[in-house]
């Protein structure tokens, strides 16, 4: 096992990883930017190295500085957390060039996961359902019309360089399509410097369902059930739960098996997530591989009792998975609310600033992963996620009540946070009944 690990991240996830290392008797090296000098992850680690100015590009994304910090401190492995360099195949490559173990999938699997059109082609060959659409870029409105007719309207047109919901247009019929095609292509050129677009079937009432997998370096895989992540705003997840109210044992098994097939096809090892869209008729379609630990991993940990960060470290150190699929069980219901420094009354505008007062929820079935403390200054340089509130209940109803109770205990003063927003969603009758899809927040906000 490793004696020392460097954590190439910040905030709550850096703390989360440091905690696992402490439990495993592994020494830790934190890295930090100028803005994060007073951060908890710096104080909690055994050693800390300043890697540069506040802008991510000059610190947390600076591969050379991070590799150098690992070499200088004698860290044998680097855990990248999520975001930043976690899905960079060139960073994984740089680690191995310097005899440092990257705690994540192999470089080639990262590259494959990152190349969406290539991954799609491989998976079609394997018979994994993907959203029907153009396999390649579409260059003319005529070509678009042919594809749309084949997959059936409505269709969605996406900029190949887009993402996060930008550069997308929906066409409900052939007349729409001609209009939307030229607009979308023009927009893609202006916004992303590349007019390439592709087209796919628009899924009505889609749910975002993802499967957590673990794979060791010897081809052994397990799936740890699903996470329901349909509560999103601008493609950013806000609430996640496990299990999902719409997945039964049969569908879980099918999707789990498909997820492992995807992982095996790209040569994946370590922890990963396979994202699917589920339509109103419970057909699932592969979306993408998230080749890292996810923000919402705690809901899976709570229902399976498996510590994902422990497993990531053990896998990276060359250990075999200590369990097989038949040992994996799910108990109870877990829900996570993301606590962001954002103003829900002002279209979720970022809200950096000083935390003047803070009371964190506690008590039975409550887990809080956060790096904030009283008088901590939330800086504008990084993501607005300042904490995660996760609860476990015997069933969904109990988990909802527990989350309502925990939210009522959560008090932050000095900056605006998403706590009151979550409290309202957790009271919503559609949410309570489990009738949710990725348009939930839009409808919820319109109804207000």
């Amino acid at each position: 096992m490793f004696k020392k690990i460097l954590i190439a991240n910040r905030g709550e996830i850096a703390l989360r990883i440091i905690r696992a290392c402490k439990e495993m008797n592994i020494r830790t090296v934190a890295v930090f930017s100028d803005a994060d000098e007073e951060s908890l992850h710096v104080k909690s680690a055994d050693e800390a190295v300043n890697i540069g100015p506040s802008l991510s590009r000059k610190s947390y994304l600076n591969k050379d500085k991070i590799i150098q910090a690992a070499k200088n401190t004698g860290a044998e492995a680097i855990h990248p957390g999520y975001g930043f360099l976690s899905e960079s195949d060139s960073f994984a490559g740089a680690c191995s060039d310097n005899n440092i173990i990257f705690i994540g999938p192999p470089k080639d699997a990262l590259a494959m996961a990152g190349n969406k059109s290539e991954a799609r082609k491989v998976l079609i060959r394997l018979g994994i359902p993907v959203i029907p659409g153009s396999d390649d870029l579409v260059s003319s409105p005529e070509e678009a019309a042919t594809i749309a007719k084949k997959v059936g309207y409505p269709v969605i047109i996406k900029a190949s360089r887009g993402g996060g919901g930008r550069g997308m247009r929906i066409a409900h019929n052939a007349k729409d399509l001609t209009e939307v095609f030229s607009i979308a292509s023009g927009e893609a050129g202006a916004t992303f410097g590349n007019p390439d677009i592709y087209i796919e079937k628009y899924i009505i009432k889609p749910r975002h369902i993802e499967i957590q997998i673990l794979g060791d370096q010897y081809g052994n895989y397990v799936y740890l059930g699903e996470r329901e992540c349909s509560i999103q705003k601008r493609y950013q997840k806000l609430i996640e739960e496990s299990p999902s109210p719409c997945i039964d044992k049969d569908l879980r098994e099918k999707m789990g098996t498909a997820a492992i097939k995807v992982a095996r096809a790209v040569g994946y090892s370590n922890a990963g997530t396979i994202e699917f869209l589920l339509d109103g008729n419970r057909n699932y379609y592969f979306m993408e591989v998230n080749a890292r630990l996810q923000v919402e991993h705690p809901v899976t940990e709570l229902v399976t009792g498996i510590d994902l960060v422990w497993q990531q470290i053990r896998i990276a150190a060359g250990e075999k998975l200590p369990f097989t699929q038949k040992n994996i069980t799910q108990r109870g219901w877990a829900i996570e609310c993301r606590i962001n420094a954002a103003d829900p009354d002002d279209n979720f505008m970022p809200c950096p600033g000083v935390i003047e007062e803070l009371t964190l929820p506690d008590g039975p079935g409550v887990r809080v992963d956060t790096h904030i403390y009283r008088n901590y200054e939330v800086s504008p340089f990084y993501d607005s996620l300042i904490g995660k509130l996760i609860v476990l209940g015997e069933d969904r109803n109990m988990a909802i009540r527990r989350m309502q109770r925990a939210l009522s205990e959560f008090r932050v003063e000095g900056i605006k946070v998403t706590v009151p927003f979550h409290a309202k969603v957790l009271q919503d009758k559609n949410f309570i009944s489990g009738d949710i899809d990725t348009h939930f927040i839009d409808k919820f906000e319109t109804a207000k």
Binding site: S54, M349, P350, P352, P380, Y382, S384
Partner: protein, 83 residues
């Protein structure tokens, strides 16, 4: 100093960028003419990018902040001479 001017101020705390991406050239330079709703700079806060636009046509008179500088809410950024 008789000409009328107005200030572009930051709507929130964040990083001031003179261009929309590190490779791109600055949105505006001192002395440059701008039209109403031209983008004059970008503020990044918590990975959200907000484009700030000219409220009225005019000429850029002064740029008060260095590129990539940290700015506070309501801080004055760019002065524009109307006309």
């Amino acid at each position: 100093m008789d000409a009328k001017t107005y200030m572009i101020t930051s709507p929130l705390m964040g990083t001031f960028y003179r261009s929309p991406s590190p490779e791109a050239s600055p949105c505006v330079e001192v002395g440059q003419k701008v039209n109403t709703s031209d983008v004059v700079c970008v503020i990044e806060s918590m990975k959200i990018f907000t484009e700030l636009r000219a409220a009225q046509a005019g000429t850029v008179k002064r740029i008060l902040v260095e590129n990539e500088g940290l700015v506070m809410k309501n801080q004055e950024l760019i002065e524009i001479e109307i006309g």
